[in-house]
């Protein structure tokens, strides 16, 4: 009989709507990060580095990019005879077919998958955080405390605590109470959305709670286990952990990678992050190029000037172009003489010559001020921006735009220009 001590279930079905146009065609875990990676590479690499070789990836929202990225799991060494990575989309049943309606509901619908591996423990992960963590150490903690549920937590500043699910623990780390986004937090230990369950505890809880609409771990399953008297423990994690749920935090986390010795160091031999590499060639810098405080992916060709930026693979920055404080993702071309300040430019975008992005005064975004803020310009994937266009701050462009879409070649700060075409 197949036997795995612990298997992982990775929730990768969410849209991540606060990333705006970056996630309009792909799920958040598939969004690029740090030049050559995608967000899901971090939990997947953590799994294999922690010795977990069986991972179910639950997909739902726009899964194409995620599916092609994961494939059969070769980059993460998750192509296994027994176990390995399995993509688990929602499926039709003989009665009551439904989408994944909540985090725990998605896991509930895949009880059969988990049962196949006969696990002692199940690790629940989400595919939208940047961190390096040894889940085996967490499992040791779980076993040492005879816990039935262990929740990874990290201390956050008290004033931030009201944005998270907060755990209140006794001096042994056992959770006595918890609060979801409390107005007046009584602890600063925030849940990281990483859980280890005893398989039996998890299965019982899921089956008992099956009829709960939008079954969620934080809202329903954990309180249920607590009520049943299962010992719940908080595993404190003090390493780097970054939620990249908003455009500003996403931009910030990328920028932290270019520090001289970044807090989150990708250059360590010890805990490698793996990804599917489509491009292999080295990068080329022309005689006129300037590059400073930046990281750049494979196969990019730089003829212009790049400062404080994260550049993906296969990017072309043409002569006299200037890129500052920006994220440019894979396969994008920046035309000659174009200046880009504090922008997030998604994959395979083409920006014409002599344009300016991220200039002028700040103005709040007209359509989604909660998404497009912090002075960032955001350009969606496969967009086209013609020559000689000026784009202001807190703006967003998505689609194959033409000169006529701009007001005399100008898009003021705070404007949204989303051009729906056949492709969208």
């Amino acid at each position: 009989m197949i036997k795995k001590e612990m298997i992982a279930m990775l929730l990768a079905g969410g849209q991540g709507s606060r990333l705006g146009v970056l996630t309009s065609k792909m799920a958040k875990p598939a969004v690029s990060f740090g030049g050559k990676y995608r967000i899901i590479d971090f939990p997947l690499s953590n799994c294999i580095n922690s010795g977990i070789d069986t991972v179910g990836v639950l997909t739902q929202y726009q899964p194409l990019r995620l599916n092609t990225h994961i494939g059969i799991g070769i980059p993460w060494d998750l192509d296994r005879n027994v176990g390995g990575v399995t993509v688990l989309p929602p499926y039709e049943k003989s009665e009551n077919s439904e989408w994944y309606t909540g985090t725990a509901n998605a896991i509930y619908q895949n009880i059969d998958y988990m049962e196949t591996y006969n696990p002692d423990y199940v690790l629940i992960l989400s595919g939208d955080h940047i961190y390096k963590m040894d889940y085996e150490v967490m499992l040791d903690f779980h076993k040492a405390n005879n816990a039935e549920v262990t929740i990874a937590v990290m201390p956050v500043p008290m004033e931030e605590a009201k944005r998270f699910g907060i755990m209140i623990t006794d001096d042994k780390g056992q959770i006595t109470e918890f609060e979801e986004k409390p107005e007046h937090p009584r602890s600063n230990l925030a849940s990281m959305g990483i859980y280890i369950f005893n398989w039996k505890t998890l299965k019982d809880a899921l089956v008992t709670m099956a009829d709960q609409p939008a079954l969620d771990f934080g809202k329903h399953v954990i309180p249920h286990c607590h009520k049943q008297g299962s010992p719940l423990f908080a595993y404190e994690f003090n390493g780097y952990w970054k939620d990249v749920g908003t455009l500003e935090s996403y931009w910030q986390a990328n920028m932290e990678l270019i520090d001289i010795v970044p807090e989150f160091n990708l250059y360590e031999e010890y805990w490698k992050i793996y990804t599917k590499s489509d491009t292999l060639p080295p990068q080329y810098f022309s005689t006129d190029s300037v590059v400073e405080r930046s990281i750049i992916g494979e196969g990019s060709e730089i003829f212009g000037k790049v400062y404080n930026s994260v550049i993906g693979c296969g990017v072309t920055v043409e002569k006299d172009a200037v890129i500052r404080d920006s994220i440019i993702m894979n396969g994008t071309t920046v035309g000659s003489g174009t200046e880009i300040y504090k922008a997030i430019v998604a994959e395979n975008v083409e920006i014409g010559a002599g344009s300016k992005l991220g200039v002028g005064d700040e103005a709040p975004n007209e359509t989604d001020p909660k998404i497009y803020n912090a002075g960032l310009v955001t350009i969606g994937e496969k967009s086209y921006i013609p020559d000689g266009i000026t784009i202001g701050k807190n703006s967003v462009v998505f689609g194959k735009t033409e000169a006529a879409d701009y007001d005399n070649g100008y898009l003021a700060s705070g404007k949204t220009l989303v051009k729906a075409g056949d492709e969208q």
């Binding site: 990708l266 080295p282 400073e292 750049i296 196969g299």
Partner: protein
């Protein structure tokens, strides 16, 4: 369908920042839908073996065919090394005998080029040739004594074949790529072995050229052999030219290599890069001009690197000057060093202690 023999671990020499020499021929084979490849190696095969640890990089991990590595083995009736190219095939003749593919492509792993072997095979069949030799006009007439030169008639049948002539009669060189029918190859190799002859060019091509129909297939595309230091250096420097990068990196089909899972290259304050190639995993704090820097190299503050090739995993301490050099891989160069190739390319091998912070 076809197979391959390779001679030496020059094949493992790093090329163009991210590749090893053998990647070019293996990718050409894969892209030409050759599914069964045998690699013959004996000299210093460590890094080659590491590189060939899996066949999946070149997509040879299929149910049909596969990637086979043959090193010399000691058996009851044989305990010698490969005494030559033909001998390496002879010692593993069962591989050829047990295959069912009609044709064999023989190529070496020390050349940088792109080629569709199907076109070569079509030509071979059309000419009703016994052996077809890929050849090319030499770019540099002074270097002919390192190649085999051929003289062809109007029909491209090879009339003369000289191996490494001191004074060449022709400026057309053999690229060391051959196609031959599998059964014919087995026959010729067996005949050679009976007479204790071991070299494919000297003992097969040259001796059989009048009784077998040996044809030349002339190519005009980029092709370089990297077996000498100068050629190796120049071939790497060729990748600084946009048309060469476009040909190898952007035009279909691609060249594949082992994926090393390295982070993107990082440029700190003080980095100044001019006309250079930089591979992933590298951290640059200094100036690099007209150079090729391979993977996982660290270049310290205030360094100056010009016209040089820095191979994989080299640590270069602060204030170091390197000019006209090839720095051997895994080297550690102390701070404040000075290396300059005065007349020609200097090879730097520095194995100092490395202290990692």
């Amino acid at each position: 369908m076809k197979e391959l023999g390779i001679r030496r671990a020059v094949s493992a020499m790093p090329i163009a920042g991210s590749y090893r020499s053998i990647d070019f021929v293996l990718s050409n084979m894969s892209n030409s839908h050759i599914q069964k490849v045998g690699v013959f190696t004996q000299y210093n095969a460590g890094s080659l073996g590491e590189h060939l640890s899996s066949s999946k990089w070149w997509d040879f991990g299929r149910k049909q065919g596969g990637l086979f590595v043959f090193t010399p083995t000691v058996t009851a009736d044989n305990n010698s090394w490969y005494r030559g190219t033909a001998d390496s095939i002879y010692q593993n003749l069962s591989f050829l005998r047990n295959s069912h593919e009609p044709y064999v492509v023989i190529a070496s792993g020390d050349c940088v080029y792109k080629m569709d072997f199907n076109k070569l095979l079509e030509y071979h069949i059309e000419k009703k040739a016994d052996i077809t030799v890929v050849c090319r006009d030499a770019d540099d007439l002074s270097g002919l004594d390192r190649f085999g030169t051929v003289k062809m008639n109007e029909d491209h049948r090879i009339e003369e074949f000289e191996e490494k002539p001191v004074v060449a009669k022709s400026s057309t060189i053999s690229c060391g790529i051959y196609v031959v029918r599998r059964r014919a190859l087995i026959e010729m190799i067996e005949k050679c072995a009976e007479e204790d002859r071991y070299d494919f060019v000297r003992d097969v091509l040259i001796r059989f050229k009048d009784i077998k129909r040996i044809y030349g297939y002339k190519i005009k595309d980029y092709w370089r052999n990297i077996a000498s230091v100068d050629d190796y250096y120049n071939t790497n420097m060729d990748f600084l030219k946009p048309e060469i990068r476009d040909y190898f990196f952007r035009q279909y089909p691609n060249i594949y290599s082992k994926v090393d899972d390295l982070p993107p290259a990082k440029y700190n304050i003080g980095a100044q890069i001019k006309n250079s190639l930089i591979a992933s995993g590298t951290i640059v704090n200094g100036a690099v001009e007209d150079s090729v820097v391979f993977r996982e190299t660290y270049i310290g503050n205030n360094c100056f690197i010009k016209n040089s090739i820095i191979l994989n995993d080299v640590y270069i301490g602060d204030n170091t000057h390197i000019e006209n050099c090839i720095v051997e891989s895994h080297g550690t160069i102390r701070a404040n060093s000075f290396y300059k190739g005065e007349d020609g390319i200097k090879i730097v091998v520095e194995k100092n202690e490395r202290f990692i912070i």
